[in-house]
């Protein structure tokens, strides 16, 4: 699913990623760890196609629309409700039976009762849950999660762990809390 050789990325003069080699098979689970500023987010954004490498090669065997991405920003409209956000993403990501799929995810992530409330009224943890629903909505072949446990309470974190354990397809998780998903990992990448 991901094949990288000598992957590098600079921002101006600053080299954030330098010569990363990476192979992740179709059903692999890559756990990325490292301190702040070590390049975890940059790696995920490169894999998502949101950044272009400045060196090396990167091949992703998933088309646009087959990638689910959870970054630092929730990527949802605060002025829309949870249901409206998922309806819009479902439309743009060509999700068949998107209403049913949205409802199922909202139910599973404990947001069904507040589905018609605007996101602006949500807590940070609820927004993170909605963001996970958005990333999972189109059943992506490649799921990229950047600090997915941020702001989640214990129940939310356990829910996500179950979701990841049941998932088919390739997954990349960058986290400061590797214990939560370490048993799922088939590959590890530790930045210094």
């Amino acid at each position: 699913m991901i094949h990288a050789r000598g992957l590098s990325r600079r921002f101006g003069r600053k080299r954030v990623l330098d010569g990363v080699d990476l192979d992740l098979p179709e059903s692999g689970f890559l756990l990325v760890t490292g301190p702040n500023g070590s390049g975890k987010t940059t790696l995920l954004r490169l894999c998502a196609g949101l950044l272009v490498p400045t060196g090396g090669s990167l091949e992703i065997a998933a088309d646009r629309g087959e990638i689910g991405f959870l970054g630092h920003d929730p990527l949802v409209y605060r002025g829309l409700t949870a249901l409206e956000n998922l309806e819009l993403y479902g439309r743009l990501y060509r999700v068949p039976e998107r209403r049913e799929r949205s409802g199922m995810l909202l139910e599973r992530f404990g947001l069904w009762e507040v589905r018609n409330d605007r996101v602006a009224s949500y807590s940070r943890g609820m927004i993170q849950r909605l963001s996970l629903c958005r990333a999972l909505l189109h059943e992506p072949r490649l799921l990229l999660l950047d600090e997915p446990f941020n702001a989640l309470d214990t129940a939310g974190a356990e829910l996500l762990q179950r979701e990841l354990a049941e998932r088919r397809g390739a997954t990349v998780v960058a986290t400061h809390d590797p214990d939560r998903v370490s048993r799922l990992a088939t590959a590890r990448l530790a930045f210094a």
């Binding site: 949101l50 272009v52 629309g65 605060r78 829309l80 060509r94």
Partner: protein, 212 residues
């Protein structure tokens, strides 16, 4: 079919956000009325209608700029543009929907501004109305592309006017020409050509603007 559906879904979202937040449209309406009021008192009595027509175009231009500066605020605040860009929909659909929403806001504001101009200065001719309609299309298509470029920059508030005003200059020339000359048809044709050329350029180039 998918393309039209995507544009409709994105446009509906923009209109819904504005309907709820009421941030852009009231600001544009107040701005254009305030500008016309200031112009009314700034223009010496006895000035010709030609001078007033010029001021109308200044008011429209800066009102459009005000609206365009807020075009991608919702996307910027929550990083939503990344989510839209990663979707399999044609990226030009994002531009087209945003241009149409900007156009809707501008037309709604002008529905207040043109009667107000008639009260403060002189009646607006049909040629001027046609010129304003054509100018709106150009302002919104070009302005939306530039707003998308500026939104990625830290100096976005500064960058948008710097990029937008030079490219809007032909619209002002065409608009003022259509309003003040006896034979405005030539200028309307000029505005139409501008709209077509820049709509095609913006439609084709948006993909590259939102890609890194």
């Amino acid at each position: 079919m998918n393309y039209a559906g995507d544009v409709a879904a994105l446009l509906r979202k923009d209109l819904l956000l504005e309907l709820r937040a009421k941030e852009t449209l009231p600001a544009m309406a107040i701005f254009v009325l305030a500008a016309l009021t200031v112009f009314h008192f700034a223009l010496p009595s006895g000035s010709s209608d030609l001078a007033a027509d010029g001021l109308l175009w200044i008011a429209i231009l800066f009102t459009a700029l005000l609206g365009l500066s807020r075009a991608f605020v919702a996307e910027r605040e929550q990083g939503v543009l990344d989510g839209l860009v990663m979707s399999p929909c044609d990226r030009s659909a994002i531009w087209l929907a945003k241009s149409l929403s900007a156009l809707t806001f501008l037309v709604l504001v002008e529905a207040i501004a043109l009667p107000a101009f008639s009260v403060f200065f002189a009646p607006v001719s049909l040629t001027t109305v046609a010129a304003v309609a054509l100018a709106d299309v150009g302002l919104c298509t070009v302005g939306t592309l530039l707003a998308a470029m500026a939104v990625a920059s830290r100096t976005r508030e500064l960058l948008l006017p710097l990029l937008f005003l030079p490219l809007a200059l032909p619209i002002v020339v065409g608009g003022v020409g259509a309003s003040v000359t006896a034979n405005g048809g030539r200028y309307l044709g000029f505005l139409l050509v501008y709209d077509l050329v820049f709509a095609i350029i913006c439609w084709a180039s948006f993909e590259y603007v939102v890609a890194e």
